[in-house]
Symmetry: none
Subunit: 242 residues, 2 copies
Protein backbone atom coordinates (compact mmCIF):
# COMPACT_ATOMS: atom_id res chain seq x y z
CA UNK A 1 0.00 0.00 0.00
CA UNK A 2 1.26 3.45 -0.88
CA UNK A 3 1.47 5.91 1.95
CA UNK A 4 -0.34 9.06 0.82
CA UNK A 5 1.18 12.21 2.21
CA UNK A 6 -1.49 14.92 2.40
CA UNK A 7 -1.63 18.69 2.57
CA UNK A 8 -4.31 21.26 3.37
CA UNK A 9 -4.09 24.80 1.99
CA UNK A 10 -5.50 27.87 3.76
CA UNK A 11 -5.67 31.00 1.61
CA UNK A 12 -6.30 34.03 3.83
CA UNK A 13 -7.63 37.41 2.72
CA UNK A 14 -10.88 39.31 2.20
CA UNK A 15 -9.65 40.32 -1.27
CA UNK A 16 -9.78 36.68 -2.45
CA UNK A 17 -13.47 36.41 -1.51
CA UNK A 18 -14.56 39.79 -2.84
CA UNK A 19 -13.46 38.98 -6.38
CA UNK A 20 -10.84 41.72 -6.30
CA UNK A 21 -7.91 39.29 -6.41
CA UNK A 22 -7.73 36.04 -8.37
CA UNK A 23 -5.84 33.51 -6.27
CA UNK A 24 -2.96 31.78 -8.01
CA UNK A 25 -1.12 30.54 -4.93
CA UNK A 26 -3.10 27.31 -4.72
CA UNK A 27 -2.02 26.28 -8.21
CA UNK A 28 1.60 27.22 -7.49
CA UNK A 29 1.66 25.15 -4.31
CA UNK A 30 -0.15 22.26 -5.98
CA UNK A 31 2.30 22.06 -8.88
CA UNK A 32 5.20 22.29 -6.45
CA UNK A 33 3.84 19.53 -4.19
CA UNK A 34 3.02 17.16 -7.03
CA UNK A 35 6.56 15.90 -7.69
CA UNK A 36 7.18 15.74 -3.94
CA UNK A 37 4.49 13.09 -3.68
CA UNK A 38 2.23 15.26 -1.52
CA UNK A 39 -1.46 15.40 -2.38
CA UNK A 40 -3.67 18.38 -1.56
CA UNK A 41 -6.82 17.20 0.21
CA UNK A 42 -8.63 20.51 0.54
CA UNK A 43 -8.15 24.24 0.15
CA UNK A 44 -10.09 26.94 1.96
CA UNK A 45 -10.28 30.63 1.19
CA UNK A 46 -11.14 32.48 4.36
CA UNK A 47 -11.53 36.10 5.39
CA UNK A 48 -9.29 38.14 7.71
CA UNK A 49 -11.23 36.90 10.74
CA UNK A 50 -9.22 35.76 13.76
CA UNK A 51 -11.71 33.14 14.98
CA UNK A 52 -12.07 31.55 11.55
CA UNK A 53 -8.33 31.56 10.80
CA UNK A 54 -7.54 30.01 14.18
CA UNK A 55 -10.18 27.30 13.90
CA UNK A 56 -9.25 26.43 10.30
CA UNK A 57 -5.56 26.08 11.20
CA UNK A 58 -6.45 23.90 14.18
CA UNK A 59 -8.67 21.59 12.13
CA UNK A 60 -6.29 21.34 9.17
CA UNK A 61 -3.16 20.74 11.26
CA UNK A 62 -4.85 17.68 12.73
CA UNK A 63 -6.36 16.45 9.47
CA UNK A 64 -3.40 16.78 7.10
CA UNK A 65 0.28 15.87 7.21
CA UNK A 66 1.20 19.38 6.12
CA UNK A 67 -0.64 22.68 6.08
CA UNK A 68 0.25 25.80 4.12
CA UNK A 69 -1.24 29.21 4.85
CA UNK A 70 -0.86 32.22 2.56
CA UNK A 71 -1.50 35.86 3.44
CA UNK A 72 -1.78 38.04 6.50
CA UNK A 73 1.87 38.29 7.57
CA UNK A 74 2.57 41.88 6.51
CA UNK A 75 2.84 45.02 8.65
CA UNK A 76 -0.77 46.24 8.68
CA UNK A 77 -3.56 45.91 11.23
CA UNK A 78 -5.33 43.17 9.27
CA UNK A 79 -2.19 41.00 9.21
CA UNK A 80 -3.18 38.66 12.03
CA UNK A 81 -2.10 35.23 10.78
CA UNK A 82 0.88 34.83 13.15
CA UNK A 83 -1.27 35.47 16.21
CA UNK A 84 -3.91 33.05 14.92
CA UNK A 85 -1.31 30.31 14.39
CA UNK A 86 -0.11 30.76 17.98
CA UNK A 87 -3.71 30.66 19.22
CA UNK A 88 -4.44 27.52 17.17
CA UNK A 89 -1.55 25.67 18.85
CA UNK A 90 -2.06 27.27 22.27
CA UNK A 91 1.48 28.65 22.28
CA UNK A 92 2.93 32.09 22.91
CA UNK A 93 4.09 34.64 20.36
CA UNK A 94 6.62 37.43 20.64
CA UNK A 95 9.06 39.55 18.66
CA UNK A 96 12.08 37.43 17.89
CA UNK A 97 15.68 38.57 17.52
CA UNK A 98 16.53 36.41 14.50
CA UNK A 99 13.51 37.70 12.60
CA UNK A 100 14.30 41.29 13.60
CA UNK A 101 17.89 40.84 12.38
CA UNK A 102 16.54 39.78 9.00
CA UNK A 103 14.27 42.82 8.80
CA UNK A 104 17.30 45.04 9.61
CA UNK A 105 19.00 43.76 6.46
CA UNK A 106 16.27 45.51 4.53
CA UNK A 107 15.04 48.39 6.68
CA UNK A 108 16.91 51.25 8.33
CA UNK A 109 16.23 51.87 12.03
CA UNK A 110 13.98 54.75 10.97
CA UNK A 111 12.01 52.56 8.57
CA UNK A 112 11.73 49.75 11.11
CA UNK A 113 8.73 51.29 12.86
CA UNK A 114 6.25 49.54 15.15
CA UNK A 115 4.16 48.34 12.19
CA UNK A 116 7.11 46.70 10.42
CA UNK A 117 8.40 45.21 13.69
CA UNK A 118 5.14 43.25 13.82
CA UNK A 119 6.63 41.15 11.01
CA UNK A 120 9.20 39.86 13.56
CA UNK A 121 6.45 38.45 15.79
CA UNK A 122 6.87 34.67 15.53
CA UNK A 123 5.04 31.90 17.40
CA UNK A 124 7.19 30.26 20.09
CA UNK A 125 9.35 27.44 18.76
CA UNK A 126 8.59 28.13 15.09
CA UNK A 127 11.47 28.00 12.61
CA UNK A 128 11.83 30.80 10.09
CA UNK A 129 11.30 30.44 6.33
CA UNK A 130 13.56 32.52 4.12
CA UNK A 131 12.05 35.22 1.91
CA UNK A 132 14.57 36.08 -0.83
CA UNK A 133 12.24 38.65 -2.39
CA UNK A 134 11.35 41.03 0.45
CA UNK A 135 13.15 39.54 3.49
CA UNK A 136 10.27 39.49 6.03
CA UNK A 137 10.29 35.78 6.87
CA UNK A 138 7.59 33.15 6.91
CA UNK A 139 7.69 30.49 9.58
CA UNK A 140 6.98 26.84 10.27
CA UNK A 141 4.98 25.93 13.37
CA UNK A 142 4.89 22.15 13.77
CA UNK A 143 3.33 20.93 10.48
CA UNK A 144 2.01 24.37 9.43
CA UNK A 145 3.96 26.55 7.00
CA UNK A 146 2.95 30.21 7.08
CA UNK A 147 3.75 32.05 3.86
CA UNK A 148 3.22 35.47 2.31
CA UNK A 149 0.18 36.19 0.16
CA UNK A 150 1.92 38.08 -2.66
CA UNK A 151 2.45 35.33 -5.27
CA UNK A 152 6.09 36.11 -6.16
CA UNK A 153 7.08 36.17 -2.48
CA UNK A 154 5.05 33.07 -1.66
CA UNK A 155 6.69 31.17 -4.50
CA UNK A 156 10.20 32.20 -3.42
CA UNK A 157 9.57 30.92 0.12
CA UNK A 158 8.86 27.42 -1.19
CA UNK A 159 12.59 27.10 -1.93
CA UNK A 160 13.31 27.04 1.82
CA UNK A 161 10.58 24.50 2.55
CA UNK A 162 11.17 21.72 0.06
CA UNK A 163 13.84 20.00 2.19
CA UNK A 164 11.49 20.00 5.19
CA UNK A 165 8.78 17.95 3.44
CA UNK A 166 8.80 14.18 3.79
CA UNK A 167 6.89 13.34 0.66
CA UNK A 168 5.72 10.11 -0.88
CA UNK A 169 8.68 9.68 -3.22
CA UNK A 170 12.12 11.25 -2.93
CA UNK A 171 12.84 13.86 -5.55
CA UNK A 172 16.20 15.45 -6.37
CA UNK A 173 16.81 18.99 -7.49
CA UNK A 174 19.52 21.30 -8.79
CA UNK A 175 19.34 25.05 -8.73
CA UNK A 176 21.21 27.73 -10.65
CA UNK A 177 20.81 31.37 -9.62
CA UNK A 178 21.61 34.24 -11.96
CA UNK A 179 21.39 37.96 -11.29
CA UNK A 180 20.41 40.35 -14.07
CA UNK A 181 18.54 37.78 -16.15
CA UNK A 182 14.81 38.01 -16.83
CA UNK A 183 12.66 34.94 -16.54
CA UNK A 184 11.06 35.69 -19.90
CA UNK A 185 14.39 35.60 -21.70
CA UNK A 186 15.03 32.09 -20.49
CA UNK A 187 11.54 30.64 -20.87
CA UNK A 188 11.84 29.13 -24.36
CA UNK A 189 15.25 27.67 -23.57
CA UNK A 190 13.96 26.13 -20.37
CA UNK A 191 11.05 24.55 -22.21
CA UNK A 192 13.50 23.14 -24.78
CA UNK A 193 15.77 21.71 -22.09
CA UNK A 194 12.83 20.14 -20.34
CA UNK A 195 11.69 18.53 -23.60
CA UNK A 196 15.14 17.01 -24.02
CA UNK A 197 15.08 15.38 -20.58
CA UNK A 198 12.13 13.19 -19.80
CA UNK A 199 11.56 12.96 -16.06
CA UNK A 200 13.18 16.30 -15.32
CA UNK A 201 10.99 19.31 -14.61
CA UNK A 202 12.32 22.84 -14.68
CA UNK A 203 11.09 25.77 -12.65
CA UNK A 204 12.20 29.37 -12.56
CA UNK A 205 11.84 31.68 -9.60
CA UNK A 206 12.37 35.36 -10.34
CA UNK A 207 13.49 37.72 -7.62
CA UNK A 208 13.72 41.47 -7.58
CA UNK A 209 13.97 44.31 -5.16
CA UNK A 210 15.14 47.90 -5.45
CA UNK A 211 18.72 46.84 -6.20
CA UNK A 212 18.70 43.41 -7.74
CA UNK A 213 16.84 41.44 -10.35
CA UNK A 214 17.39 37.87 -11.37
CA UNK A 215 16.11 34.36 -11.43
CA UNK A 216 16.76 30.98 -9.87
CA UNK A 217 16.32 27.98 -12.14
CA UNK A 218 15.43 24.73 -10.45
CA UNK A 219 15.56 21.32 -12.09
CA UNK A 220 13.75 18.43 -10.43
CA UNK A 221 13.84 14.74 -11.15
CA UNK A 222 14.74 11.34 -9.82
CA UNK A 223 17.78 10.62 -12.03
CA UNK A 224 20.89 12.29 -10.60
CA UNK A 225 22.93 11.83 -13.78
CA UNK A 226 20.24 13.47 -15.91
CA UNK A 227 20.08 16.35 -13.45
CA UNK A 228 23.85 16.83 -13.71
CA UNK A 229 23.49 17.24 -17.48
CA UNK A 230 20.58 19.66 -17.06
CA UNK A 231 22.48 21.68 -14.48
CA UNK A 232 25.37 22.06 -16.93
CA UNK A 233 22.91 23.24 -19.60
CA UNK A 234 21.47 25.78 -17.15
CA UNK A 235 24.95 27.17 -16.50
CA UNK A 236 25.46 27.39 -20.28
CA UNK A 237 22.13 29.20 -20.57
CA UNK A 238 23.10 31.73 -17.91
CA UNK A 239 26.39 32.45 -19.71
CA UNK A 240 24.52 32.81 -23.00
CA UNK A 241 21.96 35.25 -21.56
CA UNK A 242 24.34 37.30 -19.40
CA UNK B 1 -27.66 47.39 12.49
CA UNK B 2 -27.09 46.32 8.92
CA UNK B 3 -28.27 42.88 7.93
CA UNK B 4 -25.40 41.16 6.12
CA UNK B 5 -26.49 38.59 3.55
CA UNK B 6 -23.83 35.90 3.28
CA UNK B 7 -22.82 33.18 0.85
CA UNK B 8 -20.55 30.15 1.01
CA UNK B 9 -18.94 28.72 -2.13
CA UNK B 10 -18.06 25.06 -2.61
CA UNK B 11 -15.81 24.34 -5.60
CA UNK B 12 -15.76 20.61 -6.28
CA UNK B 13 -13.15 18.71 -8.28
CA UNK B 14 -9.82 16.92 -7.90
CA UNK B 15 -8.42 18.90 -10.82
CA UNK B 16 -8.70 22.14 -8.84
CA UNK B 17 -6.52 20.69 -6.10
CA UNK B 18 -3.93 19.03 -8.33
CA UNK B 19 -2.96 22.28 -10.02
CA UNK B 20 -4.22 21.04 -13.36
CA UNK B 21 -7.11 23.53 -13.50
CA UNK B 22 -7.06 27.13 -12.33
CA UNK B 23 -10.43 27.96 -10.79
CA UNK B 24 -12.11 31.11 -12.06
CA UNK B 25 -15.65 30.36 -10.88
CA UNK B 26 -15.14 31.89 -7.45
CA UNK B 27 -14.24 35.25 -8.96
CA UNK B 28 -17.17 35.11 -11.37
CA UNK B 29 -19.63 34.38 -8.58
CA UNK B 30 -18.04 37.01 -6.31
CA UNK B 31 -18.30 39.78 -8.92
CA UNK B 32 -21.88 38.74 -9.68
CA UNK B 33 -22.89 38.73 -6.00
CA UNK B 34 -21.28 42.09 -5.20
CA UNK B 35 -24.02 44.34 -6.68
CA UNK B 36 -26.67 42.03 -5.19
CA UNK B 37 -25.39 42.86 -1.72
CA UNK B 38 -24.31 39.31 -0.89
CA UNK B 39 -20.95 38.83 0.77
CA UNK B 40 -18.94 35.63 0.40
CA UNK B 41 -17.88 34.40 3.84
CA UNK B 42 -15.78 31.42 2.80
CA UNK B 43 -14.93 29.27 -0.21
CA UNK B 44 -13.74 25.69 -0.10
CA UNK B 45 -12.15 23.63 -2.84
CA UNK B 46 -12.82 19.99 -2.17
CA UNK B 47 -12.09 16.72 -3.91
CA UNK B 48 -14.58 14.35 -5.55
CA UNK B 49 -15.22 12.60 -2.23
CA UNK B 50 -18.84 11.88 -1.26
CA UNK B 51 -18.37 12.16 2.50
CA UNK B 52 -16.54 15.47 2.26
CA UNK B 53 -18.98 16.99 -0.27
CA UNK B 54 -21.97 15.95 1.84
CA UNK B 55 -20.53 17.29 5.08
CA UNK B 56 -19.40 20.57 3.52
CA UNK B 57 -22.85 21.19 2.01
CA UNK B 58 -24.50 20.42 5.34
CA UNK B 59 -22.23 22.79 7.28
CA UNK B 60 -22.39 25.60 4.73
CA UNK B 61 -26.18 25.44 4.25
CA UNK B 62 -26.57 26.09 7.98
CA UNK B 63 -23.84 28.73 8.23
CA UNK B 64 -24.64 30.92 5.22
CA UNK B 65 -27.77 32.47 3.73
CA UNK B 66 -26.90 31.07 0.30
CA UNK B 67 -24.58 28.33 -0.89
CA UNK B 68 -23.26 27.79 -4.40
CA UNK B 69 -21.61 24.57 -5.50
CA UNK B 70 -19.73 24.16 -8.77
CA UNK B 71 -18.72 20.92 -10.43
CA UNK B 72 -19.65 17.28 -10.34
CA UNK B 73 -23.00 17.35 -12.15
CA UNK B 74 -21.90 15.79 -15.45
CA UNK B 75 -22.43 12.27 -16.74
CA UNK B 76 -19.35 10.43 -15.44
CA UNK B 77 -18.83 8.20 -12.44
CA UNK B 78 -17.15 10.92 -10.43
CA UNK B 79 -20.09 13.31 -10.85
CA UNK B 80 -21.64 12.73 -7.46
CA UNK B 81 -22.72 16.18 -6.35
CA UNK B 82 -26.49 15.63 -6.76
CA UNK B 83 -26.44 12.54 -4.56
CA UNK B 84 -24.36 14.36 -1.97
CA UNK B 85 -26.79 17.29 -1.87
CA UNK B 86 -29.66 14.85 -1.26
CA UNK B 87 -27.65 13.12 1.47
CA UNK B 88 -26.78 16.45 3.10
CA UNK B 89 -30.48 17.34 3.42
CA UNK B 90 -31.63 13.78 4.17
CA UNK B 91 -33.96 13.74 1.18
CA UNK B 92 -34.49 11.35 -1.72
CA UNK B 93 -33.17 11.66 -5.26
CA UNK B 94 -34.47 10.22 -8.52
CA UNK B 95 -34.58 10.75 -12.27
CA UNK B 96 -37.04 13.51 -12.94
CA UNK B 97 -39.26 13.94 -15.99
CA UNK B 98 -38.78 17.71 -16.38
CA UNK B 99 -35.01 17.32 -16.33
CA UNK B 100 -35.17 14.40 -18.76
CA UNK B 101 -37.32 16.46 -21.14
CA UNK B 102 -34.64 19.17 -21.14
CA UNK B 103 -31.92 16.61 -21.95
CA UNK B 104 -34.07 15.34 -24.85
CA UNK B 105 -33.90 18.80 -26.40
CA UNK B 106 -30.22 18.21 -26.83
CA UNK B 107 -29.71 14.46 -27.10
CA UNK B 108 -31.32 11.89 -29.39
CA UNK B 109 -32.74 8.78 -27.71
CA UNK B 110 -29.63 6.92 -28.85
CA UNK B 111 -27.34 9.51 -27.31
CA UNK B 112 -29.33 9.66 -24.10
CA UNK B 113 -27.66 6.63 -22.56
CA UNK B 114 -27.59 5.64 -18.91
CA UNK B 115 -24.65 7.91 -18.20
CA UNK B 116 -26.30 10.99 -19.64
CA UNK B 117 -29.58 10.14 -17.92
CA UNK B 118 -27.74 10.52 -14.63
CA UNK B 119 -27.86 14.26 -15.33
CA UNK B 120 -31.64 14.07 -14.82
CA UNK B 121 -31.26 12.80 -11.26
CA UNK B 122 -32.49 15.67 -9.07
CA UNK B 123 -32.95 15.81 -5.28
CA UNK B 124 -36.62 15.65 -4.24
CA UNK B 125 -38.28 19.05 -4.20
CA UNK B 126 -35.39 20.89 -5.85
CA UNK B 127 -36.17 23.45 -8.57
CA UNK B 128 -34.21 23.33 -11.80
CA UNK B 129 -31.73 25.99 -12.93
CA UNK B 130 -31.62 26.65 -16.67
CA UNK B 131 -28.42 25.93 -18.58
CA UNK B 132 -28.57 27.84 -21.89
CA UNK B 133 -25.13 26.57 -22.95
CA UNK B 134 -25.39 22.77 -22.74
CA UNK B 135 -28.95 22.18 -21.44
CA UNK B 136 -28.21 19.73 -18.56
CA UNK B 137 -29.75 21.71 -15.70
CA UNK B 138 -28.46 22.78 -12.34
CA UNK B 139 -30.85 22.81 -9.40
CA UNK B 140 -31.71 24.66 -6.22
CA UNK B 141 -32.23 22.65 -3.05
CA UNK B 142 -33.43 24.94 -0.27
CA UNK B 143 -30.66 27.59 0.00
CA UNK B 144 -28.10 25.62 -2.04
CA UNK B 145 -27.58 26.31 -5.74
CA UNK B 146 -25.84 23.48 -7.59
CA UNK B 147 -24.05 24.63 -10.74
CA UNK B 148 -21.80 23.21 -13.43
CA UNK B 149 -18.03 23.36 -13.12
CA UNK B 150 -17.20 24.50 -16.66
CA UNK B 151 -16.87 28.30 -16.31
CA UNK B 152 -18.94 29.32 -19.36
CA UNK B 153 -21.79 27.01 -18.32
CA UNK B 154 -21.59 28.04 -14.68
CA UNK B 155 -21.79 31.70 -15.65
CA UNK B 156 -24.80 31.15 -17.90
CA UNK B 157 -26.69 29.47 -15.05
CA UNK B 158 -26.41 32.60 -12.90
CA UNK B 159 -28.95 34.26 -15.23
CA UNK B 160 -31.65 31.96 -13.87
CA UNK B 161 -30.70 32.55 -10.23
CA UNK B 162 -30.54 36.31 -9.85
CA UNK B 163 -34.29 36.73 -9.25
CA UNK B 164 -34.15 34.09 -6.50
CA UNK B 165 -31.62 36.01 -4.37
CA UNK B 166 -32.80 38.38 -1.65
CA UNK B 167 -29.71 40.51 -1.29
CA UNK B 168 -28.67 43.04 1.30
CA UNK B 169 -27.18 46.49 1.22
CA UNK B 170 -24.47 46.55 -1.40
CA UNK B 171 -20.87 46.63 -0.27
CA UNK B 172 -19.10 49.59 -1.86
CA UNK B 173 -15.39 50.15 -2.25
CA UNK B 174 -12.92 52.91 -2.97
CA UNK B 175 -9.32 52.35 -3.91
CA UNK B 176 -6.29 54.64 -3.90
CA UNK B 177 -3.06 53.50 -5.52
CA UNK B 178 0.30 55.06 -4.73
CA UNK B 179 3.69 54.27 -6.24
CA UNK B 180 6.84 54.50 -4.16
CA UNK B 181 5.14 54.04 -0.79
CA UNK B 182 5.81 51.09 1.51
CA UNK B 183 2.94 49.28 3.20
CA UNK B 184 4.74 49.53 6.54
CA UNK B 185 4.93 53.33 6.37
CA UNK B 186 1.17 53.54 6.03
CA UNK B 187 0.16 50.80 8.47
CA UNK B 188 -0.34 52.88 11.63
CA UNK B 189 -2.24 55.57 9.69
CA UNK B 190 -4.54 52.96 8.15
CA UNK B 191 -5.34 51.43 11.51
CA UNK B 192 -6.12 54.92 12.83
CA UNK B 193 -8.43 55.76 9.91
CA UNK B 194 -10.25 52.46 10.30
CA UNK B 195 -10.76 53.16 14.01
CA UNK B 196 -12.29 56.53 13.14
CA UNK B 197 -14.86 55.02 10.77
CA UNK B 198 -17.04 52.27 12.11
CA UNK B 199 -18.35 50.08 9.32
CA UNK B 200 -15.44 50.80 6.99
CA UNK B 201 -12.71 48.19 6.60
CA UNK B 202 -9.33 49.05 5.11
CA UNK B 203 -6.98 46.73 3.30
CA UNK B 204 -3.61 47.39 1.71
CA UNK B 205 -2.23 45.44 -1.20
CA UNK B 206 1.46 45.92 -2.03
CA UNK B 207 2.75 45.46 -5.55
CA UNK B 208 6.24 45.49 -6.96
CA UNK B 209 8.04 44.46 -10.08
CA UNK B 210 11.39 45.28 -11.61
CA UNK B 211 10.46 48.92 -12.17
CA UNK B 212 7.83 49.88 -9.67
CA UNK B 213 6.97 49.47 -6.02
CA UNK B 214 3.82 50.68 -4.34
CA UNK B 215 0.60 49.84 -2.63
CA UNK B 216 -3.13 49.99 -3.29
CA UNK B 217 -5.35 50.92 -0.37
CA UNK B 218 -8.91 49.61 -0.52
CA UNK B 219 -11.73 50.86 1.70
CA UNK B 220 -14.93 48.80 1.90
CA UNK B 221 -18.24 49.64 3.50
CA UNK B 222 -21.93 50.23 2.92
CA UNK B 223 -22.08 53.97 3.63
CA UNK B 224 -21.08 55.95 0.52
CA UNK B 225 -20.63 59.22 2.43
CA UNK B 226 -18.32 57.59 4.96
CA UNK B 227 -16.30 56.04 2.13
CA UNK B 228 -15.94 59.45 0.48
CA UNK B 229 -14.42 60.82 3.70
CA UNK B 230 -12.11 57.82 4.02
CA UNK B 231 -11.02 58.13 0.39
CA UNK B 232 -10.09 61.78 1.00
CA UNK B 233 -8.06 60.73 4.04
CA UNK B 234 -6.27 58.10 1.97
CA UNK B 235 -5.33 60.73 -0.62
CA UNK B 236 -4.03 62.95 2.21
CA UNK B 237 -2.03 60.02 3.55
CA UNK B 238 -0.45 59.39 0.15
CA UNK B 239 0.55 63.08 -0.14
CA UNK B 240 1.99 62.98 3.37
CA UNK B 241 4.10 59.87 2.69
CA UNK B 242 5.23 60.77 -0.82
Amino acid sequence: MINIVSAGIILIGDELLSGRTQDTNLGTIARWLLPLGVEIGEARMISDDAAIITETVRVFSQRFDYVFTTGGIGPTHDDITADCIAAAFGIGISERQDALDILRERYSEHELNAARRRMARIPDGASLIKNPVSQAPGFQTQNVFTLAGVPSIMKSMLLDIEHRIKGGVQLLSRSVTAAGIGEGDAAAHLAQIETEHDGVSLGSYPFFNADLRGVTFVARGRDAAALDVVEAKLHDLVRQLS
